[in-house]
């Protein structure tokens, strides 16, 4: 049938066009980062004359990259750890225990999904500035201690785990804390991995919250630092800015390449 063959051709052509349209900007970022200012001035769209990493060296010279990376990693890991520590008992109670106001507690949790950080930052900023917490790590971490998305994700995963498993552990004398933090995590591993990855990548990349909660270099994160490259110095600096962008996007892209399946499961669960 020619109709079927045409459809197949159209699909392949669209896939090719999409791959080019989405990969070209990355290629451009990489190519620009290998150029010299002279090359950029003379012919901005020509290929770089040689493979050189001097723009990357300049990024490391003009910014404390190692410190930014360390701080951003600590922040994102702390957020993910806190979210999981709070989400496990909450998801267990919401999925497995019968109590009178369970539906109300769950509705309360879901309503938090409608309140993004962009709605919370003005009062949180004034609260933290009254407490002297602006420009500290707690200001970057605490407002994200609870993830409604994560609790929802774990609750869904817990619903399909048979009660008998938990009852058997109780008969063996296991405490509820043991059940929540020891028994359940290995069983919930796929959901926890998806939750961790989505949370880590999101907060590692985040620009908005660190921007409004920091005033100087003390707790500046990597995205903020890289964004500063645009404001520093003078003359043609696109090669340096693109080197910074490449450095910033590599960890997220690398994590994505190796954990695509889990990430997609986390994001495809419908509440992202």
């Amino acid at each position: 049938m020619t109709g079927e063959r045409n459809v197949r051709r159209l699909a392949l052509a669209s896939a090719l066009a999409a791959a080019l349209l989405w990969l070209f900007p990355y290629a451009w970022m990489l190519l620009t980062s290998l150029k010299t200012p002279q090359e950029l001035l003379k012919a901005p769209t020509a290929l770089p004359g040689a493979f050189r990493l001097s723009a990357y060296v300049e990024v490391f010279q003009s910014l404390p990259v190692a410190r930014y990376v360390a701080l951003t990693t600590v922040m994102a890991l702390t957020i993910a750890a806190l979210q999981i520590a709070i989400a496990l008992p909450a998801a267990y109670a919401l999925a497995k225990l019968d109590f009178r106001w369970r539906a109300a507690a769950f509705a309360f949790l879901l309503s938090a999904l409608l309140i993004p950080a962009e709605l919370r930052f003005v009062p949180t900023f004034t609260l933290f500035s009254a407490l002297g917490l602006v420009n500290t790590l707690p200001a970057l971490v605490l407002p994200f201690a609870v993830s409604a998305f994560g609790i929802f994700l774990l609750r869904q995963a817990l619903l399909v785990i048979p009660d008998s498993l938990i009852e058997a552990a109780r008969l063996d004398g296991a405490s509820e804390l043991y059940i929540v933090y020891r028994l359940l995590p290995p069983i919930l591993a796929p959901a926890l991995a998806a939750f961790f990855l989505v949370s880590f990548v999101h907060h590692w990349n985040d620009y908005f919250w660190p921007l409004v909660m920091t005033v100087d270099d003390r707790v500046r994160t990597l995205p903020l630092g890289i964004a500063l490259l645009r404001e520093q110095g003078s003359g043609v600096r696109w090669h340096i800015i693109m080197a910074g962008s490449t450095l910033l996007s590599l960890p997220a892209l690398g994590l994505f390449a190796f954990t695509q399946k889990y990430l997609l499961r986390g994001l495809g669960s419908g509440v992202g």
């Binding site: 699909a11 896939a15 999409a18 609260l127 109780r170 509820e176 910033l248 695509q260 994001l267």
Partner: protein
């Protein structure tokens, strides 16, 4: 299951309840209260009733930032629906090219806004940017992608589209995988060609997925900030000042906490209305 002690659920939920109270409920109530005050963070706050709301509406700030947000989000919503669906249909098949396209399109969703913002700042640079250079080489005049009030909001929307289409595509792909294959086979046996099957079988079945994508990208595009801050700082002449950017400026540029809070309250009302829309879209047709 029965809790082992009656107080058990409360203890298990208490960390979540405390965090939700301090970082979700308190900020909203506090914004509502502060919206009735004049406050610059330095001198004591002064109660002024509804004056903040009057100020943001009579200055046109509220209307213009809402309209800008709507303009950008209508492009993002329509674009992510069409592109997301089209790409999902194209790459919903085995093969290396389809797999490459799936990963490439979705990867943009995983990369930091800062990288994406700086990258497109360079690509759309008026003089040395690759887009204008290519246009120039085929004799088309340079476009002021980010410095014209008419074009800048559209450029911003296109960049957002590049970043978020991968998410829409993934949702459509999971919708496509959920469709019963028998229906396609039956339609094919009845002699329906590929286009007829798409129109009469696939698209109607994907309606709930489309409703989900549309409302999700609508809500997400109302939260836009990063790309505006990185590319245009709200300009030229406020043409890209979206709602969140307007709130940010009131607080950090003008130190007007009261007006920022009034905008937050309006923003919350708009988001709640949009979410209600989302829930309704869901209830009408339960997605697969």
């Amino acid at each position: 299951m029965k809790p082992s002690r009656p107080s058990q659920p409360f203890w298990l939920l208490s960390p979540m309840l405390v965090a939700l109270g301090v970082f979700f409920v308190y900020p909203l109530l506090s914004a509502l209260r502060t919206s009735f005050y004049e406050w610059d963070l330095l001198t004591p706050a002064r109660f002024i009733g509804l004056a903040n709301y009057r100020a943001i509406s009579s200055s046109g700030e509220l209307l213009s930032s809402l309209c800008t947000t709507l303009l950008v989000s209508s492009i993002v919503v329509a674009g992510s629906l069409l592109l997301g669906l089209g790409l999902a249909l194209a790459v919903h098949r085995p093969g290396r090219l389809a797999a490459l396209a799936r990963s490439a399109v979705f990867s943009a969703y995983v990369v930091s806004w800062v990288s994406v913002g700086l990258l497109f700042l360079w690509i759309f640079d008026a003089d040395a940017g690759v887009v204008n250079q290519l246009l120039g080489s085929i004799g088309i005049a340079k476009v002021k992608w980010l410095t014209s009030t008419a074009v800048a909001p559209i450029t911003v929307a296109l960049i957002v589209l590049w970043k978020v289409t991968g998410y829409a595509m993934v949702v459509f792909l999971s919708g496509l995988s959920g469709l019963p294959p028998e229906m396609h086979e039956a339609a094919a046996l009845d002699g329906a060609g590929p286009w007829a099957r798409l129109r009469h079988v696939t698209l109607p079945l994907l309606r709930p997925t489309a409703a989900f994508v549309a409302t999700t990208s609508l809500i997400a595009s109302f939260q836009l900030f990063d790309v505006v801050r990185l590319l245009t700082q709200g300009g030229p002449v406020r043409s890209t000042t979206v709602l969140v950017y307007a709130i940010y400026e009131q607080l950090f540029r003008d130190l007007r906490v009261g007006r920022a809070s009034a905008l937050v309250v309006v923003f919350f009302v708009v988001l709640s209305a949009l979410t209600w829309l989302k829930l309704r879209a869901f209830r009408e047709e339960e997605p697969a």
